[in-house]
């Protein structure tokens, strides 16, 4: 178990370093950086290279935003293989629903409860 945690730490940290370099060296904004990593995740997911990284590093690959792209592709592919072309549209949010729903619901709850501190 400890090995899995260590691998998650190393790979997750590594992906964040890539993000930091994109922000500091290439002067990209956080929005540009995260969008780029999502697209990379989607492409790797399509090629079939992201899942092996998830198997190897666990949360180190599934917590960074790049896994969002991978999950979107996986959802779309599964539905598309089953239902044909329309599956691309019906399947995209299937796997990522937990993350997006949680962010919206709890983000809204936070707006009800909290005030910005400035």
């Amino acid at each position: 178990m400890m090995i899995k945690v260590l691998l998650a730490f190393l790979v997750g940290g590594g992906i964040c370093v890539i993000g930091q370099i994109m922000m500091d060296v290439f002067k990209l904004t956080p929005a540009h950086t995260t969008s780029a990593l999502v697209v990379v995740g989607a492409v790797l997911g399509g090629i079939g290279l992201y899942d092996p990284i998830v198997k190897f590093a666990g949360a180190g690959a599934s917590v960074p935003i790049s896994s969002f792209g991978n999950s979107l592709v996986k959802g779309a592919l599964v539905e598309a293989q089953r239902d044909g072309l329309i599956g691309v549209l019906t399947g995209i949010f299937e796997v990522t629903s937990a993350g997006i729903s949680a962010a919206i619901i709890f983000g809204f709850l936070a707006a009800l409860v909290f005030k910005p501190r400035g």
């Binding site: 922000m23 002067k27 956080p30 910005p116 501190r117 400035g118």
Partner: protein, 333 residues
Amino acid sequence: MKKGSQSWVFNNNPIILASTAIGGPFEAKGALAKDFDVLHDDIWLGQDSFEKAEKKLLEQACEIVVQKGNIKNEDVDFFISGDLMNQIITSSFAARTLAIPFVGIFGACSSSMEGLALASLIVDSNSADYAIAAAATHNASVEKQFRYPTEYGGQKPPTAQWTVTGAGAALVASKGSGPRVTSATIGKVIDMGLTDPFNMGSAMAPAAVHTIETHFRDLNRDPSYYDLIATGDLGTVGQSIAAVLLAKDGFSIPTEKFKDCGLLIYRKDQPVFAGASGCACSATVTYGHFLNRMKKGELKKILVVATGALLSPMSYQQKESIPCIAHAVSIEI
């Protein structure tokens, strides 16, 4: 009266009858805290939104400056004010409360001196007995409009600046005693093609240099005429660039004389990256600290060069560069 290419000389001695600086909790911990008339410990000022708090700051500054001048609101002929909010709502809504004929201006962070120059011109040309020049900003409302939500975890680079929460106002009068506004130089918009909104100091430095040099040429003066030459908010990055450019053009200013409001207002241990910024930066430091020093006799002739970056969130997203401007006003006692 016009002098040279871009300057005015005020021969009828418009006086700064009264001035005030209002600040927030962060300014209260700053290096110039004792030069503020009021320091709030709540950034909301008891209001529902940051934008409403900013209006309250400006209203309070104007009320206090009128009181200090021993006159009434109805005696003030014109209210000239600017801020960073879209459609300068802070100034417009404050003008609604004050019920003084209103001239809204926008010079980004150069609004303070733009206002003072215009107010002095109006009084000097016998077009008014009393005019108020004011400017205000609020850290949170500016972050919300120009950058990111205040609780966003984005990382700011070392060239970023911290917007001052505060308001400054000056009551300019045709008679009375106090520091006199003697001249002003209106800047031209200078754009060196820089695009980074997190490094405005570098973008604004050329505008400051252009205005300072034009001021010296128009009025046939050189740095030795003044005891202090202060830029508005160039910050560490912009000010060092400006010093080098001025020296290169033969207008070298000794470091003891060349100051920047953005570097004076906070302490070294406050996390403000490259320095303070915002309309209120030059306004509060000039109308509080500098004028106090003049009244104590420590300074006789100063030149305040407020600097502004004239970008909007939209222009930045459309990949436009950052045009800048600087307005200079000389005050003597």
